[in-house]
């Protein structure tokens, strides 16, 4: 399997190269000049020329691209026009916030969707099935930015139970140096900071995970339902195994492949969903950084972030392939 994964990993390199080419082509198809956009109105022609030279924008496009690619291979994604800082540093500073949020959203989604989907699939047409199907349908139909705003209206605006935006209360957050507020505070046993971090995270995480709950619940239900008709399940029942054991040991373990596939794909959707959720909740992660980059036409920042997102997605797909072999021992690479 190691050989297969290495081959797949190497196979992703041309894909990543093509992605950078696509992003670069898009950047240069863009109307307007970043130098004149970023400098104030008072600057004269000479200043704009100087800025273009400093940022390398006066070079031919293919030279700019080759320079970018060769630097990217050494981990250098260039300097942000707007923040005047290396892009990798900016991403590294914001990434923990997005990782913590996405991880909690995925945990919440898995924790709700899989038990509900299994329960609904094991008892088709029961009240649990109806409840699960409704939750699934609501989950896939709910626009996450609207859900976020409604949660803010309800829990922050009306009941004053949760903070409406941000990541921590000033002075309370622990582990600010690592960027992982929740994990760092947990590791340090700083409970007030853990509580504070969770209070800020719960609404964005619920909002981010809602769509995944819908999709995962539906796929789990249908997958469980499909497997329930297999002969080995009938045999397991016939030999007198308890329903719980049949469902969790025999049905779920065999229904996992489509669930894992969809969960992996949804992880990519969730990552891009975080761009919107972070904007709604002013969450200081890479998603809101991307929007800042987009609105200020910060070429290096946007290119770096898009590349990071795409690479993450490629790696997730690879990890899912590896997971198949663990879930289903019949799969050999």
């Amino acid at each position: 399997m190691t050989a297969y994964l290495l081959r797949r990993l190497l196979g992703t390199l041309p894909v990543l190269l093509l992605i950078t080419l696509l992003v670069f082509a898009l950047l240069h198809a863009a109307p307007g000049d970043p130098a004149s956009l970023l400098l104030s109105d008072a600057t004269n022609e000479a200043d704009v020329l100087e800025a273009r030279q400093r940022w390398g924008l006066d070079r031919p496009v293919h030279v700019q691209y080759l320079k970018f690619i060769s630097a990217a291979f050494t981990g250098d994604l260039g300097r942000s026009f707007r923040f005047a800082q290396p892009v990798t540093e900016l991403i590294a500073a914001r990434l923990p916030a997005t990782i913590e949020l996405a991880a909690l959203a995925v945990l919440l989604a898995l924790g709700v969707a899989i038990p509900l989907g299994v329960w609904a699939g094991a008892r088709p047409n029961s009240w649990v099935d109806n409840l699960g199907t409704s939750v699934g349908l609501f989950g896939i139909s709910m626009p996450n930015f609207w859900m976020g705003i409604m949660l803010i209206l309800l829990f922050a605006g009306t009941f004053h139970l949760l903070p409406s935006a941000g990541r921590s209360t000033y002075g309370v957050a622990g582990s600010q140096e690592s960027g992982f507020y929740l994990l760092g505070s947990l590791a340090a046993g700083n409970w007030p900071a853990v509580k504070d971090a969770l209070m800020y995270m719960v609404m964005p995480a619920l909002t981010l995970g809602a769509n995944m709950v819908g999709i995962l619940m539906r796929i789990t239900r249908s997958s469980v339902l499909e497997v329930s008709h297999e002969e080995y399940v009938v045999t397991a029942r016939a030999k007198g195994l308890a329903q719980r054991s049949v469902v969790w040991r025999h049905v779920l373990s065999n229904a996992l492949i489509p669930i894992v596939t969809v969960a992996g794909l949804e992880l990519g959707t969730l990552l891009s969903g975080s761009i919107i959720v972070e904007t709604v909740f002013a969450w200081p992660g890479v998603g809101s950084l991307l929007i800042t980059g987009v609105t200020s036409r910060d070429y290096p920042l946007v290119t770096g972030l898009v590349l990071m997102y795409a690479a993450t997605f490629v790696v997730i797909n690879l990890a899912i392939d590896a997971l198949y072999a663990i879930i289903d021992p019949r799969i050999r690479y």
Binding site: I19, L137, P143, S272, I291, F313
Partner: protein, 275 residues
């Protein structure tokens, strides 16, 4: 009577009717600013403004009706264009195989590496706002689903007797794909198209919400929500109604998609399953 099909159909038909008859149904011009009447709460059936007014005194109900037109126009265009591209490329890829298939599948792999919304944001960020760019950005990733499914189906169909016989009779590849394969590929594409329409509406609203959709002078549900967010504590109706419109519309389309899949896929229907 299939409840899902009925409810979903009713919602979608209402959306189409509202979209087509918008100017006749809307009580006000959606861009008419009456600053003296700004931020009025919903007057329901008694007041001058059924769903209230926004910060510039524009009628929320009229803007929602006009917003439906944009959603409908964008969603239908996206589904048709991405369907045409995806089905054609999928059929070509599956039918010809070899280098053509390899090239098309590489392209699929590259575009697939972008989550749909991220690709749309990237495209709009650099090409700028506008209806055409918005549709382009939403099509950019949505054709893939059609392409993958249609390719798989074509692969299994191309060895069938009816295709071999047609080829033996001297039919051209274009004729075989267009006349003989396409009718067999439509059903699955119809189901994909329905769900693609729902996701196109959400994506359009998301992009408008981020300020990357159509220009601000065109009322859309997404921009209304984004504008309403600033007044969330004082004027709840500004965020509630546009969002509810998106939710109900998408729910309706998804219900219709579920029903369509149950009807078109008898295997799943027999087993009582649906995704």
């Amino acid at each position: 009577m299939n409840v899902k099909a009925f409810l979903g159909g009713l919602i979608v038909l209402t959306l189409i009717a509202v979209g087509l008859l918008g100017p006749l149904l809307a009580p006000y011009d959606p861009n008419d600013q009456q600053l003296r009447a700004a931020l009025q709460p919903p007057g329901w059936f008694d007041g001058a403004h059924f769903l209230g007014t926004d910060n510039l005194g524009r009628d929320v109900f009229s803007r929602i009706i006009y917003g439906a037109r944009v959603s409908l126009l964008v969603a239908v265009s996206v589904v048709i264009v991405s369907g045409l591209i995806g089905i054609s490329l999928g059929a070509i890829s599956g039918y010809f195989g070899g280098k053509v298939d390899f090239a098309i599948q590489k392209l699929v792999e590259v575009v697939w590496a972008f989550p749909a919304l991220l690709l749309a944001i990237t495209i709009l960020a650099f090409l700028g706002q506008g209806l055409f760019n918005l549709i382009l950005a939403l099509v950019a990733q949505r054709w893939i689903q059609y392409c993958r499914v249609v390719r798989g189906q074509t692969l299994s169909l191309r060895g069938r007797d009816f295709v071999v016989a047609t080829r033996a009779l001297g039919a051209s590849a274009a004729r075989i794909i267009g006349r003989h394969l396409l009718p067999n590929l439509i059903q699955a594409s119809l189901v994909i198209g329905t769900f693609a329409m729902a996701s196109a509406i959400v994506s359009e609203a998301s992009l408008s919400f981020l300020g990357l959709g159509v220009p601000p002078e065109i009322p859309t549900w997404g921009t209304m929500l984004a504008d309403g967010r600033a007044y969330i504590s004082t004027a709840w109706w500004l965020a509630l109604f546009p969002g509810a419109s998106i939710f109900v519309t998408v729910l309706g389309i998804n219900l219709l998609g579920d029903a369509l899949r149950d009807i078109l896929d008898p295997k799943l229907k027999r087993a009582g399953m649906h995704l």
